[in-house]
Symmetry: C2
Subunit: 595 residues, 2 copies
Amino acid sequence: MIAERLTTLRQKMKECGMDAYLVPTADYHESEYVGPYFKCRAYITGFTGSAGTAVITQDEACLWTDGRYFVQAAKELQDTGVTLMKMGQEGVPTVIEYLQSHTKEGMTLGFDGRVVNENLGETFEEKLPERFLSYRNDLIGDIWSDRPALPAEPVWILDQKYAGESALDKLAKVRKKMKELNTSVHVLTSLDDIVWMLNIRGNDIPCNPVVLSYLILTEEEGHLFIQDKALNDDVKTYLHDLGMKLHPYDAVYDFISEIKGQNILLEKGYVNYTICQSLMAENTITDHMNPTTSLKAVKNPTEMENIRKAHIKDGIAVTRFIYWLKQNIGKLPIDELSAAEKLESLRKEQEGYIEPSFETISAYGPNAAMCHYQPTENDFAQLKPEGFYLVDSGGQYYEGTTDITRTIAVGPLTEEQKEHFTITAMGTLRLGNAKFLHGCIGVNLDYLARSAFWERGLDFNHGTGHGVGFLLNVHERPNDIRWKVAPERAKYAVLEEGMLTSDEPGIYIEGSHGIRTENLMLCRKAEKNSYGQFMNFEFVTFVPIDLDAIDTQYMAEKDVELLNTYHKEVYEKISPYLTEEEKEWLKEATRPLKK
Amino acid sequence: MIAERLTTLRQKMKECGMDAYLVPTADYHESEYVGPYFKCRAYITGFTGSAGTAVITQDEACLWTDGRYFVQAAKELQDTGVTLMKMGQEGVPTVIEYLQSHTKEGMTLGFDGRVVNENLGETFEEKLPERFLSYRNDLIGDIWSDRPALPAEPVWILDQKYAGESALDKLAKVRKKMKELNTSVHVLTSLDDIVWMLNIRGNDIPCNPVVLSYLILTEEEGHLFIQDKALNDDVKTYLHDLGMKLHPYDAVYDFISEIKGQNILLEKGYVNYTICQSLMAENTITDHMNPTTSLKAVKNPTEMENIRKAHIKDGIAVTRFIYWLKQNIGKLPIDELSAAEKLESLRKEQEGYIEPSFETISAYGPNAAMCHYQPTENDFAQLKPEGFYLVDSGGQYYEGTTDITRTIAVGPLTEEQKEHFTITAMGTLRLGNAKFLHGCIGVNLDYLARSAFWERGLDFNHGTGHGVGFLLNVHERPNDIRWKVAPERAKYAVLEEGMLTSDEPGIYIEGSHGIRTENLMLCRKAEKNSYGQFMNFEFVTFVPIDLDAIDTQYMAEKDVELLNTYHKEVYEKISPYLTEEEKEWLKEATRPLKK
């Protein structure tokens, strides 16, 4: 099947004079996750993982993906004629290096410019000189006869009691920033930015309540490119009252070609190449982080209050799930899929719950050592009454987005497992209890989460924390906690009051166990004095950290104190919503430890 | 006197058609400290502090300096006709802002291009458009009739037993880097870089054993511009054997004007404007950190071994000083100057001691709250048997450069003083005991030194650590420990094995006390495993931290353990060189504490 598709594609490439064709994993909006309509790379290679890039020439077809997917990709690419390129492995060229060596001057590289951002397009221009870039055709779209329809889920208005700020006020702030940057037009195409600014939500990407749309803002006007069928009359009136002129979703390309002589504010890494190339021909571009991105990262007081509420609800669901699991392990048959379903059913009992905020990672034993493991209908494990079960999940609530990981002892543990669990909890708690001067970025604080690992010659190979949206994407810029400095990002990443960030150290021992403990935390102002404005974090996630896996011999007195303080709060906040049996169990599960 | 000088200067400015004349504090090599020949700013304003910039117009003369010098500058500028511009104070324009508002298009800004680096010159070009920059005249030199002579101290060869690597090998490494960067000529004018590469030393700047010189390197040739009278025959032969062609010091400008059509490696922030402007007219410039800078920061095994030796010597001197002070305070009259002299006399007893590595900060009581306080013959305090005495000093030894701060209880302390002293010691010890993955920069680790302060809403307003040279400048790039990310610096600042860095948290309470505890530490490799290369630090400074000022109630168990471990090593390393009385005292001064 893949072979046939490749043959058809190669025929098309010949017709269009393309020597190589590149298919990334992206939609027209640089979204982190893409829906079925945009799974072109999966269509042409057969590889269904969430990340990968394909390059097809007349002689070869190659698929680049990262370490998470080497096993799955090898399986799925078998007999397809597609070669797996293991990213980061010695001797494996990058996509760019491959294109450099497999195309010559005068040749043509084809791709759909709508699924490549401007920064990547400019990298092609720079690194592949004397090649012609043909970006106006979607060859996969041309040959994909049974392509799923574009989603057009109903758009709904996020009430001000949840949003905390009117869309008109947000628009005014963005327009003020446009003016400060001496720009007359702002082109905004990232979906979470658009729906945040307009206080609307939808469901065009699973788990991400966004709406397929493009927005062009001037000082006086707003042009929203959106599918009409997604809008009811109330929403249309609402958008009209915000000053939005509505256009068909795909009319944006013609519209943009008419913009001339303007200074345009846009963020090249988040606007597609087709749009940027069209604009750059006749306008000047001010490449700057979308003003909405820094605005929405800083939650307002209403959002903060709602986030606390959402996390109590989520905490009740996850706490009850742990209780259920502890009671039933070894008695009922439980597997990774049924456990995740149970958790989802408990979340659904909570008022205001909408959907998961991402696909649940439900992993037993050695499976949890694969950071991004997800069970499938064809491949999942039974839980046995020994070792650890890890669940990383979250919910979308009207009051906000949650993201929590707990690792649960479902039976006897080894000493090593206890030590690893204990230092992971220490990392989460130490970071969450940081106090620091305003101006710090995550890079200043990451050591707190890692020191207990690094002292032992251990580490975890992922960032410690990411920003989280408000009833929006579970991964949100620009705040994060990591130790490697990305100079271009550093200036935007100062931790501000109202930012919501995850705190999720972990450890992954191949073939044995995986542990991660994740809380979300709001950044808050502490005292201000002659030294400056001090800041700290407020945990909003309240679910017990499994004391069955804690061994205080690895902890300092202060670590024990932090754990006890956290557990006291868990009990106070969650117990009022539990049954007597659950409450009794929680009392024990949050008991203070002694050093 | 200053008024007369200003009148003469203004006359000169008129003759040269200059509307404003700028006098920074610099030599021709962007050195951190300058000798008497280069004190033009002090000559024209009367302000003798180590940092400041003067701008003179026909109507005004202004002097910018920072908070350290507000009091001194106000005093020295009185009745001179020079206005003090307090940098960083609200409403005070920066030098650039002042020039923008006090010069108009078509006007001329004059300065000696040899004492302004290329980056600053380019800032003038950018921020002062339509002004003419006249940089070829040294007007202060023209009017300064009794200007001191240029120093020309004897140059000597640093034996390989100290340097650990031959100059030929160093030259080869630099030439390799030139090639990697596709450059044919390297212009190197920073003095510590030149003498490090050639394994020579001199004494042309007090405390910095450097030699006034410029170096131009090609693949085959080396041209050293240096004062002939500073060289004896041995040194000449040595330099000749390195392939160096010797030219008069100031012949560099004519030489450079002959270079054409080359790609030139130089670092714009460290080469003067006159040189760069001349080169840029006829060549292309590759602006890159001097290869010598990153090479010399990483001490080789011989240097590391020598550094340890130098620090034992220095540790003996400082330990004996503390003993002397503790025995004699309240009995002998001791003041800030005589205490510093005593310390210097004890250093002089050490074999291989050359000179101080910077001007000693000797500060009693509230004086220590001024970070950069130095007593003068006219203004110094008596030590009383109460509170703290702080001494920040260092030595140049054949085996390396030292830099140490100890704060010593010379009598009863308040509870607050003890708490402040204790958290300062905790900061020094926690940072020095960091373990981290290779790739970390100081920004990742600074929290360790500050957390005990920040938890209490306290801070210190200076960096935590700086690089230190080998028998060279006490402040050396690129390694440092600080919490604010400087994006442009981050990529060079990765902590590598062999880097020598200071670790010096402190606290400064105006009118009351100042505390700082400073050790130097070598960065070392720890274990390497699948997570990567782990790194840690090795303290090289061994002098007791005053237990009379420690209160364990503020310390975690781990902090006490770190202090005890450090003190054990201090006793082991230093006691063999002490008298019986000193040894007995040291035993007590390094006794293990209990939590």
